[in-house]
């Protein structure tokens, strides 16, 4: 069972972010981390490997500095990594990302492709679908639980009010939701062994991709304006007299918003 996990380098989620005049994020000043949503996909891949054997490969498209986050995924337990990096990729949008990742995926033997549901910086959530389309293999989104057998995978999908069971033949693309598991910390032994694991570097030329088709010029989405998010309002304060009263207020609040 070979599992490829697509991982993105994102700015630290707690950092204050600023956009440049071209509406692109000023990443240079920011600490970068593994996209937190992808950590659930990595954890799921590691668990599937521990139960079924095989190999976990991490696939990253990103600048040379993404090597830091790649080392972390290797320290968590991934076996090796493929890092697609090329100056011409700067400014690539979701469609270019899908083109690059799917081209790379064709060169990495895989039975299963796992992704997070979205990235914490762009938040389009379009890549899992784009990959499945480009590779011509099934897509199952919002997985909370995965069970493998030799030729297929059974997935519990998160849907409003419960979960849906879907079975699909392999290979397939599955996006894993936040909270599906508790991602592990890299162990200290893992950090040491990560130093000796392979990170294969690929450029656009290695993948036979026309640089003009990706990057800012190849992007199919154009950002035309941006606006700072409104300050968070102070919210409602209730001052119930009894715990029972408090419970009713909370239940009504949640019900009105269809959370329960």
């Amino acid at each position: 069972m070979n599992i490829v996990v697509c991982v993105k380098q994102v700015p630290d989620t707690t950092a204050r972010k600023e956009l440049g005049p071209d509406f692109r994020l000023n990443r240079a000043a920011l600490e970068s981390v593994v996209n937190p949503f992808d950590e659930y996909a990595i954890e799921e891949a590691l668990r599937l490997k521990e139960a079924n054997g095989g190999e976990v490969v991490v696939l990253v498209m990103g600048p040379p500095s993404a090597e830091d986050i790649i080392r972390k995924t290797l320290a968590m337990g991934a076996d090796r990594a493929v890092h697609v990096t090329d100056p011409a990729l700067a400014g690539t949008d979701w469609s270019g990302t899908c083109a690059v990742l799917s081209t790379a995926l064709r060169r990495i033997p895989h039975d299963l492709v796992l992704t997070g549901t979205e990235s914490t910086d762009a938040r389009s959530g379009l890549v899992p679908g784009g990959l499945s389309e480009a590779l011509g293999i099934p897509l199952v989104t919002y997985a909370v639980k995965l069970e493998l057998d030799a030729e297929s995978i059974k997935v519990h999908r998160q849907v409003p009010g419960g979960y849906q069971e879907v079975q699909t033949p392999l290979p397939a693309v599955v996006s894993v939701v936040k909270g599906a598991n508790e991602p592990r910390y890299p162990s200290l032994k893992g950090i040491m062994s990560a130093k000796r694991k392979e990170i294969q570097k690929l450029t656009l030329a290695d993948l036979d991709i026309d640089p003009a088709s990706v990057g800012l010029h190849g992007a199919r989405t154009v950002v035309t304006a941006s606006q700072a998010r409104a300050e968070k309002s102070s919210g409602e304060v209730a001052r119930p007299e009894t715990p029972e009263e408090a419970a009713v207020i909370i239940a009504d609040f949640l019900q009105a918003r269809k959370y329960i």
């Binding site: 830091d68 972390k72 910390y185 032994k189």
Partner: protein, 381 residues
């Protein structure tokens, strides 16, 4: 000259920082209240590899060297000095003595189990009548065939009540003074070894210390660390590394006290404006920053010297005296910045103030460190 922290040490740092933030920080009040770290949390620390950091990879260790170890101790100290104290007693003292001077047999027998945390180590040097004057310990070890028989007692042994093995220093030849001291590994279940009651301390709750008694305690000769009569040297060499790591823990504690002071001074409004707008407060913050910065870099420098195979006894003494005293200055200012709130048990600062006091005393008092430094300065050329 390159001051950058290696990539693997950076990853170690961010991993320990995340673990500390998610798993240890929420427990601070509980550890303080119960005077104990929950065993399942200790197990998580072991699983992560925190008990293995400085040991060599061939013995199951993390192989991160002194710098990696210091960076981790800084993160642990930052949340609660109890954690860095437990790890310090285990790694920098008990384990380091075996790693530095033990036979290969002894290393094979103890270090892998210490690295996983299956066996917890403690360091037993101090005695009722031998604190700073460590060469005059009174615990004896009498050779008897292929064994040594230990008699005496040790005081304030960190990890004492929980440890599985003890690095013990005892006199094998009274005539020889410091050259008559020998170091041993003593298993907890050795007949004749008993553990006294857990000490009631001013601070460092959660890190347990106790007295250890030896009564005709029979230890195999193969458990001698290094050679007979070399124990005092083993102790001094071990303490060098320990002092540097202790400096790192002080840096972590001081950084937290400073960070909390910054946050509080921005938030606390008096006379219609945050107290951070008062120069009196700003200067305290600035002085603490100078202290922490200096402490951090002298610690990293000493660790780098050790990792590059150089002796760092002098630097270790400098780090120990500076970092322990700078921590006391920084937490004292932190209490001042927090005002009455800093005196209240519900704020971490109150605990940190108490925890900080011991670092000027244990692992060699400030006065002993100054003696070591002055001896180096005045030694004949």
């Amino acid at each position: 000259m390159d001051f950058s922290v290696p990539d693997d040490v950076k990853l170690l740092q961010s991993t320990v920082r995340e673990f500390v933030r998610d798993r240890l920080a929420p427990l601070t009040m509980q550890v303080e209240h119960d005077d104990a770290v929950p065993s399942e949390v200790l197990q998580e620390m072991k699983d992560l590899g925190l008990f293995a950091i400085p040991f060599a990879e061939e013995y199951g260790g993390g192989g991160f060297g002194e710098l990696g170890y210091c960076v981790a101790m800084e993160e642990l100290g930052a949340v609660n000095a109890a954690y860095s104290n437990i790890i310090g007693g285990h790694c920098s003292l008990s384990g380091a003595a075996i790693a530095l001077a033990g036979s290969d047999h002894l290393k094979q027998r103890y270090l892998p189990a210490m690295a996983t945390g299956e066996k917890l180590g403690a360091f037993a040097l101090t005695e009722p009548n031998a604190g700073s004057d460590a060469a005059h310990i009174q615990t004896t070890a009498r050779r008897d065939g292929d064994h040594y028989v230990l008699n005496g007692s040790k005081l304030w042994v960190s990890n004492g009540p929980m440890a599985d093995l003890y690095t013990v220093f005892a006199v094998t030849d009274k005539e020889q003074g410091s050259k008559g001291v020998t170091a041993f590994v003593v298993d907890r279940d050795t007949p004749g070894l008993t553990i006294g009651k857990v000490d009631e301390k001013m601070g460092l709750r959660g890190s347990k210390t106790s007295e250890i008694f030896f009564d005709e305690c029979c230890v195999p000769a193969e458990n001698v660390i290094g050679e007979e009569g070399r124990g005092f040297r083993v102790a001094m060499q071990t303490l060098d590394g320990g002092r540097i790591a202790l400096g790192a823990s002080c840096v972590g504690q001081a950084q937290t006290a400073l960070t909390m002071s910054i946050q509080w001074s921005r938030q606390r409004v008096q006379f219609g404006r945050p107290i951070a707008s008062n120069q009196a407060i700003q200067w305290m913050l600035a002085d603490s920053e100078v202290d922490v910065h200096a402490g951090r870099w002298m610690t990293y420098h000493a660790a780098w010297k050790i990792d590059s195979g150089q002796r760092a006894s002098h630097e270790a003494a400098v780090v120990k005296v500076y970092c322990s005293e700078m921590l006391n200055r920084v937490v004292d200012r932190a209490v001042q910045v927090h005002g009455g709130m800093g005196y209240m048990k519900e704020f971490d600062i109150e605990r940190m103030y108490r925890d900080a006091r011991i670092v000027r005393i244990y692992e060699g008092t400030s006065e002993i460190q100054r003696m070591i430094i002055a001896d180096d300065l005045l030694r004949d050329e």
